[in-house]
């Protein structure tokens, strides 16, 4: 008796629930983001709240993972039948995601106005084989940050324009006893190391891949690794760089323990925040240097985009959400941690005010953004290169040999 009563109640409750959700016609979409750099988790939540206020019929479930887990989590969810409607993806993944049908081709949803008004360089973030697989969202490249106070004490008037100049200035700082190891990089066995390496490859005008075959083992690719090894062995580079990720670089720089550091946009405003940073107000930023006779500046494309997964059952709502998140209004409002993708934003005083130096560096850096190779085998190539970089730094093999075996293990 009691049992059947329970059953009836349960049934009634279930019917009630299903009616309720129909009555509101509410759709829930799941979105996967990253928990670091660029926009903070709080910012993404605030943007999403603004979206749901404007679209009460769409509910957004947010999930945040570290960058290191973003790719594998996306692929795993897809392999097990979906879960996410919207995913954040790095510039290096569209080729793989498109080939394996993880992301949906959204070319037909893209308006001509959007295509015209977004910075041309930003589009390389989401394109593969001429098709669009999402909207660029975080526009980013690595800049050279410097500590103005230390440079002044060392009698250096202008920050370095070439990588050789960087070494000379670092040597002056070291010789004057201001810092034992003036330069900080993120050379841990991770993608971060490839971003620093790619910046140097762009300065030396090298190639990752030519005609489908690895081409980094000679020319500019080899010069870039040689530069890293020389800088490391000379003692000008902080030797702990080989276990640093970007956040470690930021902490060392904010503690005043580095005169120079290569890092993403987000470090500028964080290092200038007196709550966190001992060097607030002394942070200088310029485009990453070039190589005399080869390039004026260097930059790696470290942008990220938002796309719709092919497993999504609500692509229309997902696109609505992506459009909101990447809109010029939203991006201008949060321009302190990540610069907008929209060209006209850079002449908007509301965006540029208080970060004129960064905007000036961005104008050069964003125009010079060098892509890491677009290949479905990217993860394999990157893993092989990470190993080559670390083996060379540790002196286990010469840059030539390390890159040669990386080329063999790259899966290409």
């Amino acid at each position: 008796m009691l049992k059947s009563l329970n059953k009836t109640l349960l049934g009634a409750a279930l019917i009630g629930v299903s009616f309720a959700s129909h009555a509101l016609a509410e759709t829930t979409i799941n979105a996967l983001f990253m928990a670091q750099a660029a926009y903070s988790e709080a910012d993404v939540r605030a943007m999403t709240d603004a979206f749901t206020k404007a679209n009460p019929d769409v509910k957004v479930n947010l999930e945040f993972v570290p960058y290191e887990g973003l790719h594998d989590k996306t692929v795993l969810a897809q392999g097990s039948g979906g879960g996410y409607d919207v995913v954040l993806f790095d510039v290096i993944w569209p080729a793989e995601y498109a080939t394996n049908k993880v992301l949906v081709d959204v070319s037909s949803r893209m308006s001509d106005d959007t295509k015209k008004n977004v910075l041309p360089g930003a589009w390389t973030t989401v394109q593969y084989d001429g098709k669009y697989y999402g909207m660029p969202w975080i526009l980013d490249t690595k800049y050279l940050f410097y500590n103005k106070e230390i440079l002044e004490k060392a009698g250096i008037k202008t920050p370095p324009k070439t990588w050789d100049e960087l070494n000379e200035q670092a040597k002056t700082i070291k010789d004057k006893g201001l810092l034992a190891t003036p330069i900080a990089w993120s050379w841990s066995q991770a993608e971060a190391a490839i971003c620093d390496y790619a910046t140097l490859v762009s300065a030396y005008k090298g190639d990752f891949i030519k005609d489908g075959k690895p081409d980094f083992q000679t020319g500019g690719g080899l010069d870039a690794l040689k530069y890293m090894v020389t800088s490391y062995k000379s003692g000008l580079t902080n030797p702990n760089s080989k276990e640093f990720l970007e956040e470690d670089v930021r902490k060392v720089f904010e503690n005043g323990d580095a005169a120079f550091a290569l890092n993403w946009t987000y470090m500028y405003n964080m290092a200038n925040d007196p709550k966190d940073s001992k060097v607030a107000g002394k942070v200088g930023v310029v485009p990453a240097p070039g190589v005399a006779g080869k390039s004026d500046a260097s930059a790696v494309n470290g942008s990220m985009g938002l796309g719709i997964t092919s497993a999504s059952k609500h692509p229309d709502e997902a696109w609505k959400y992506i459009s909101f998140m990447t809109s010029q209004a939203t991006q201008n409002q949060y321009a302190k941690l990540s610069l907008p993708i929209w060209a006209s934003s850079y002449s908007d005083p509301a965006v540029t005010k208080g970060q004129e130096e960064l905007i000036a560096a961005a104008k050069v850096g964003l125009a010079a953004m060098y892509p890491r190779p677009t290949t479905p085998k990217y993860q394999e190539l990157s893993t092989a290169l990470q190993q080559a970089i670390q083996e060379s730094l540790l002196g286990q093999s010469s840059p030539e040999d390390a890159l040669k075996s990386a080329a063999q293990n790259s899966g290409l």
Binding site: D72, A190, P239, K251, Q379, Q390
Partner: protein, 294 residues
């Protein structure tokens, strides 16, 4: 109740468990075996049959061989250290002294912490710029400059082993302590009267009671150590220069990062086979020692 009806009843009671085991272990295992003979990708089509190609390639791969050695070294050293530390801690905590209860509870803490928390904690301790280990060693005058513990191939694996021991020796200690409580007081008292020193007492009076339970701890820890993944993933991701890459990390990279599900499955099965052989060898050893003890 007769023997046969007892057997029937036992099987009947076990049935739900068997069904669940077949569903969650048996079927995926069969599926994995099938997958390991194909060149399937993680997403997309099922892949083609390639025979034992995946196995042959994997076993001949120098990365695999190097990783196997790293894993074996990690397992042997960390488990040996955990066993010694665990028994010593248990002997200490078995003594009568004030605050023993608090100390026993405290000792369990590292084991109760999630591995990821433990790993993050140790990453901070080893931090080359601000880590507690560098600070302590320089202040004691044992080190003249800060070192990069996780950034040097020479120290990274050892640093990981220390972190793993810190987390896992309490389990061994717990098992040993429970066994020690079973040693009859009158026997230890009698050995004292007979004039046995602490070493002799441990070897001939206490150890026989410990062997069985310690064997269980040894099997558990060895299997776990062979499968180690999370602590390494959080602390070094296999670096520097792959010097701390273990078999589980290789499986993960192969199957998920590179999306080669077939090849990853073959590697996972090789690891499973290794662990099974180890467990069987231990089981035989347990039977032998248990047999000789009685």
């Amino acid at each position: 109740m007769s023997g046969t009806s007892m057997t029937t009843r036992a099987w009947f009671l076990m049935l739900p468990l068997l069904v669940v085991m077949v569903a969650v272990i048996g079927w995926p295992l069969v599926d994995t075996v099938g997958l390991s003979f194909t060149d399937a990708k993680l997403v997309g089509t099922g892949g083609n049959f390639v025979g034992i190609d995946n196995y042959a390639k994997m076993l001949a791969n120098s990365n695999f061989q190097r990783t196997l050695i790293t894993t074996a070294w990690f397992a042997i050293v960390s488990v040996a250290a955990e066993m010694v530390l665990g028994v010593l801690a248990a002997l200490l905590l078995n003594q009568d002294f004030k605050g023993r209860g608090v100390l026993r509870a405290l000792m369990i803490l590292p084991w109760a912490l999630p591995t990821v928390v433990n790993a993050t904690l140790w990453r901070l301790i080893y931090n080359p710029e601000y880590g507690a280990l560098n600070a302590a060693l320089t202040q004691l005058g044992l080190l003249d400059a800060y070192r990069s513990w996780l950034g040097e191939p020479g120290t990274a694996l050892t640093a990981l082993i220390v972190a793993d021991c810190w987390k896992n020796f309490p389990l061994v200690a717990l098992i040993a302590l429970a066994a020690l409580q079973a040693v009859p007081r009158d026997i230890t008292a009698a050995s004292l009267v007979d004039g046995a020193g602490p070493f002799k007492r441990f070897r001939f009076v206490i150890l026989p009671y410990l062997v069985g339970p310690l064997m269980v701890a040894l099997v558990l820890r060895t299997i776990e150590a062979f499968k180690v993944f999370d602590i390494i993933w959080v602390m070094t991701r296999g670096g520097p220069a792959n010097s701390t890459r273990t078999l589980s990390i290789l499986v993960y990279q192969e199957a998920f990062s590179f999306q080669r599900a077939g090849s990853g499955a073959s590697l996972a099965l090789i690891v499973t086979l290794l662990v099974t052989v180890l467990a069987a060898a231990y089981a035989a050893l347990v039977r032998k020692t248990a047999g000789s003890a009685t």
